[in-house]
Amino acid sequence: MSDLNNMTAAESAATKAAVMNQVPGPEIEGQSPLHHADLASLAKQGPKTGGIHLREQKLLGHLTLRCNAENAEQLAAVERVLGVALPLQPLTSTENGNYSIRWMSPDEWLILVPGLETFDIETKFRDEMPGHYSLVNSSGGSTVLELSGENVVDLLKKATPVDLHSKSFPVGKVVSTLFAKSTATIRRTGEQRFELVIRRSFSDYLWLWLQDASLEFGLVVEA
């Protein structure tokens, strides 16, 4: 087995062989995990006012990066590819335009990018990243729900044990935690705005759960 920290150019090129573009192209329409819920029609027909606004950020590229937070070369390479540094403090996130990076654990980050750019970014990582690291396209495994509105904190309180007060959960903070008997990675993007990265297999359950939990506030689906 070759030393992954000191690869020859040929060995390094061979690691790119496993990368394939999982998105066939803009001409073929993908289906998000909540395709069957037909959120687009609900957005047109449903109520326009309510305490909870829900939008699915569908078909984003989800890249799971694992590397060494103490390796300055790897940190610099990430910054070259995404234009933004990895968040090294626990439970924080960084973003640059459409790219956002969530701290998942001391050596793991979740990078969200626009779906059609995923393959480009993955390829750039293979070109730029030195040493021993792992980058996996996990786009198919999860989806992102954006929840906002004046009652959004009341809604989340029903689902998760995490303290959502803005003192302990400021804008930009990320927590992976339990969410309504499932799990979610919750990121606060505004005082009354949250992004939830949820498992594909739980998306229908959470969609049903969110509809029920937001009955008392009124649910507005946005496309």
Partner: protein, 94 residues
């Protein structure tokens, strides 16, 4: 319900997010082939069950998914300290 400090996330979380993975600091025999049946059996199956201080391995299963150690009093459920893998406990039974 325990309120547990995760040393990787650097904050307190509910016990629901964690799993206990049993006794900590169990060293695997360096040469398993050279173990007697008794030594191997004790390594695999025999665990402490103290009344009082106990060093346990926990995993932040719903959070950062990292393991860490905890010193806990099995009688009062009081958590004495948490420390990362590879570190030694500062609170030990006398």
């Amino acid at each position: 319900m325990l309120h547990i400090y995760c040393p990787h996330c650097a904050e307190y979380r509910e016990e629901d997010e964690f799993h206990c993975a049993g006794q900590a600091h169990i060293a695997r025999p360096l040469d398993p082939e050279a173990c007697s049946d008794q030594e191997w059996g004790e390594y695999l199956f025999f665990r402490k069950n103290p009344r009082g201080l106990h060093h346990e391995l926990w995993v932040h299963a719903a959070g950062c998914r990292k393991f860490f150690n905890m010193t806990r009093d099995t009688q009062s459920y009081e958590i004495k300290e948490v420390y990362k893998i590879g570190e030694q406990p500062s609170v030990v039974a006398e």
